[in-house]
């Protein structure tokens, strides 16, 4: 018994040592853009917007796991591998595409932050600048460990969605029926429904998320001994994330969808909740949005900076000081500043800009899947840790489905179905 307990204790210590990358990356996938997409989808299609959410969770878990595995085994980031295997031309092309995509996501998060500040009736211009400056300062000054603790703390903000789901007095049985078994309230032949479903998938499995989990694990300097524990951590992250987003959908479905109110983003959703579920619901929703925005606003520019450093070979680590990692921090600052400036000009249509970012993310996904499959199944790179069996099959299948989905969405948008 004691031996069992000791070995359990040992495993727990290893697990606590690895905790961070998987959880943070997966949860940051529910950033402000994610919240907006889930909200709009749930407001339009109810819990059916979460239809097929178990395979979706599985896909998130597996793709993140592949990323984690490649990072731990090769001690190289996805960017490193792309540059070393495919040369400078493709690297530059991917970086430009990636930078623009992420800039769009950063924009979503800055405007998410703006919305949450407006919901609290604060002078948003002033606080937006303050928060952005504070973020930059913290990321430069703090080392990896401290920052990770802050990120983990930010996850607590998402608990607001669970309470707000509970406040909506949902019909749990119906929610499960719609999202897990078969949607009854929505006509499944509706093309618009599938567009919305793909959009939700696109905000859950993101290009930057794939790059980030890779780089972040690398920066944590995990070794092969941590591989098992890290896998568990990544799966846990995917499950927790899915629970949060499911709760979000519940909160919206049993207030806004049930009353057939039209919303366009997180801000209007939070306001619409007030008469339906009370003041507290709105506050909780705003708190959740605030946390999501801050987390996204830190992680996404960092994901850009990491990839830049990897592709072009500069020092890129949260443990590096500003002088050593000035290009790394430079790209972080650049993305936040650009996002801030665009948001501060009220005449820009944020809605359109963020939509384009989602499209670009869609374009990036098949490319990322290609690299993930290619690298994780290359014995020269992975040795005995190559992907096989179910993981390999499922990720390939998903890669094909996502590619088809992206093409259909594109055609759909161009010809205006």
């Amino acid at each position: 018994m004691r031996i069992f307990f000791n070995s359990f204790k040992k495993q727990l210590i290893i697990f606590l040592a690895v905790i961070g990358p998987g959880l943070i990356t997966a949860i940051a996938d529910n950033d402000a853009g994610g919240v907006a997409t889930y909200t709009v989808a749930a407001a339009t299609y109810g819990m059916a917007s979460k239809f097929l959410f178990i395979p979706e969770t599985l896909l998130l878990a597996l793709t993140q796991e592949i990323g984690a595995r490649i990072a731990i085994v090769t001690r190289k980031g996805l960017g490193d591998l792309i540059r070393e295997r495919y040369g400078i031309k493709l690297s530059l092309f991917i970086f430009i595409l990636y930078f623009i995509t992420n800039q769009g996501v950063v924009l979503q998060n800055v405007s998410g932050l703006k919305s949450s500040l407006q919901l609290f009736n604060l002078p948003w211009q002033f606080f937006l600048i303050i928060f952005c400056a504070l973020l930059i300062f913290i990321v430069i000054k703090f080392n990896y460990r401290k920052l990770q603790n802050i990120f983990l703390f930010m996850i607590l903000f998402y608990l607001a969605y669970i309470i707000s789901a509970w406040l909506a007095h949902p019909n749990w049985k119906e929610a499960i029926q719609e999202s897990i078994i078969w949607p009854k309230k929505v006509d499944i032949r509706n093309v618009g429904f599938w567009f919305s479903r793909i959009a939700v998938l696109g905000t859950t499995i993101t290009a930057w998320g794939q790059f980030f989990v890779h780089s972040y694990i690398l920066d944590k300097k995990l070794t092969i001994d941590h591989l098992k524990a890290e896998k568990v951590e990544v799966y846990l992250g995917a499950i927790v994330t899915s629970i949060f987003s499911w709760m979000m959908a519940v909160a919206v479905t049993y207030t806004i969808f049930a009353n057939k109110i039209h919303v366009v983003d997180g801000y209007s959703a939070a306001l619409a909740m007030k008469p339906l579920a009370g003041q507290l619901s709105t506050i909780l929703f705003s708190v959740g949005l605030f946390g999501a925005s801050i987390l996204g606003l830190t992680i996404v520019p960092l994901a850009t900076a990491y990839v830049f450093s990897e592709l072009f070979g500069y020092e890129g680590s949260l443990d590096a000081n500003f002088k050593k990692g000035r290009l790394f921090y430079g790209f972080f600052i650049l993305q936040i500043t650009l996002g801030l400036i665009i948001t501060l000009f009220p005449q820009t249509s944020l809605f359109k800009l963020t939509l384009y970012a989602d499209y670009l993310n869609g374009v990036m996904l098949p490319i990322i899947f290609f690299f993930l499959i290619k690298f994780s199944e290359d014995e020269e790179i992975m040795g005995k840790y190559i992907s096989r069996g179910f993981t390999s099959f499922f990720v390939r299948l998903s890669g094909i489905i996502i590619t088809i989905a992206v093409i259909i969405t594109f055609v759909g948008k161009v010809f205006k179905f």
């Binding site: 400078i88 530059l92 070979g313 020092e315």
Partner: protein, 465 residues
């Protein structure tokens, strides 16, 4: 791939020579590096016969790899074979391009020696009759192993990636001379802006030396491990305070030395080992497996081997001896029996120690006050705060210095030492070899226990005869 190397290049440079005072010829770290590179560099050069790629005045010119990759490869009689895909070069201080990799029109890869290479112009011309070759040991691919790789400095910091590779012809041979790490290298690779911008960029690049890393800054040995590592060692080491230097070298070098030894064959490695001072030797042998230790010991000078053996635990020592070949074993056992007569009773304490930061004035003052009763006095030993022996200098050297000069600036850090367990014969041999009047005896914490005077020990040996 590094295991086998020609043995006809036995180093003359680093053979042990009799030296005045306590000096070893070179810092041993440099010695090892120089040694390895000497071996690598001396690999047979294959002459590149008619590489007529020179400018009008016959000067040698620099070409970038990005400028010639993908060019069509044709034979003398204008038959297109394929496109240039990669180069193969010898890993050394001055890397010679030995082979070219061509992607044939049919999609197959073919490797041919640069012997057949004739011209590099808008086309790459080769002789019409050529033979396929293969990758040999000590050879790496330029694209696969060098281009786009991460460059790190000696401390492991990431600097930048290899954006392009510069080549130069010299005496009809094609060499890699450096790597481009700048933005222009990147632009060149991407072929942005056609020829015009390209030419300007190239013009600029010759001026912008900061974007260019000479091959001399790169450690060829690290390339084999898939790293492009810089050797900015001198400036790094200069920043360290001299009294810490010995400690620093010891710590880093046992590891570094082992790394180097791994890639050398036994005989060469043994030669390198025998050039190290005893502390490193012991540190190395403690980590070696018995078989390996036995192998190395049989190549090392017997009386040095005994010194090393005496410092190992008894059990390990016996195991190693049992593995050594009979002839050498006999000598070693004989020498080991001598160690029953250790030198303990010969030790005197007539020696003076000073601190590294003491000035010459201070030392002279100390000599006046403390050495009045000494029977003889030749060297002054330097110890650090932990009382470890870190340096030595002679009275002559002391007198040559300015009064304010601190000791660490002129002391010698490679001290020839001996141990209490060493047999008299060996100590005497050592003193003759390095022409020393006295030799310090230290314990395993490097504290001086005393010194041995040449006269005392010589008397004893003569008496016996």
């Amino acid at each position: 791939m590094w295991v086998r190397m020609e043995s006809n290049h036995r180093s003359v440079l680093y053979q042990r020579t009799v030296l005045p005072l306590n000096y070893a010829p070179l810092d041993f770290r440099e010695k090892i590096i120089a040694y390895c590179e000497f071996i690598l560099y001396n690999k047979n050069k294959i002459p590149l016969r008619q590489l007529a790629d020179r400018d009008d005045r016959g000067r040698k010119i620099m070409i970038y790899f990005s400028e010639i990759v993908g060019k069509k490869v044709v034979t003398e009689d204008d038959i297109c074979i394929g496109k240039l895909e990669d180069f193969i070069f010898l890993v050394s201080d001055k890397p010679l391009v030995t082979k070219i990799v061509i992607r044939e029109n049919s999609g197959q890869k073919i490797i041919i020696s640069t012997d057949y290479l004739q011209k590099i112009n808008s086309l790459i011309t080769i002789e019409k009759e050529y033979l396929a070759a293969y990758l040999e040991e000590n050879e790496l691919y330029l694209v696969k192993n060098l281009l786009d790789k991460q460059i790190i400095d000696i401390k492991g910091n990431k600097i930048v990636r290899v954006n392009d590779v510069a080549l130069q012809t010299e005496k009809e041979l094609l060499f890699i001379v450096g790597v481009d790490v700048g933005l222009l290298g990147m632009i060149r690779r991407l072929r942005i802006g056609g020829d015009g911008l390209y030419k300007i960029a190239r013009l600029f690049n010759f001026k912008m030396t900061s974007d260019f890393l000479s091959w001399a800054d790169i450690q060829p040995l690290e390339l084999v491990r898939g790293q492009v590592k810089l050797r900015k060692k001198e400036d790094k080491l200069n920043k360290i305070r001299p009294e810490d230097l010995a400690d620093y070298l010891e710590k880093t070098n046992v590891i570094n030395t082992r790394k180097f030894l791994k890639i050398l064959d036994t005989e060469k490695a043994a030669e390198v080992i025998s050039n190290l001072n005893i502390n490193y030797q012991i540190a190395l042998f403690r980590n070696f497996k018995n078989e390996k230790a036995a192998k190395f010991l049989s190549f090392i000078d017997p009386d040095e081997a005994v010194d090393v053996l005496l410092f190992l635990p008894k059990e390990k020592r016996e195991k190693i001896i049992s593995l050594i070949e009979p002839k050498i074993k006999k000598t070693l056992i004989h020498l080991l029996t001598l160690s029953i007569n250790p030198i303990g009773n010969l030790i005197t304490t007539d020696y003076l120690t000073v601190k590294p930061e003491d000035s010459v004035y201070h030392v002279i003052d100390k000599v006046r006050k403390e050495t009045i009763n000494f029977s003889s006095f030749d060297y002054i030993y330097v110890t650090n705060k932990l009382d470890e022996l870190v340096g030595v200098f002679s009275l002559h050297e002391l007198l040559l210095q300015n009064g304010e000069e601190p000791v660490y600036k002129f002391m010698s850090q490679n001290v020839v030492i001996s141990h209490l367990t060493s047999p008299k014969e060996i100590v005497l041999k050592k003193m003759f070899k390095y022409k020393l009047h006295t030799i310090p005896i230290i314990n395993d914490r490097k504290n001086i226990l005393g010194i041995i005077d040449l006269d005392d020990i010589a008397d004893l040996v003569i008496e016996k005869i």
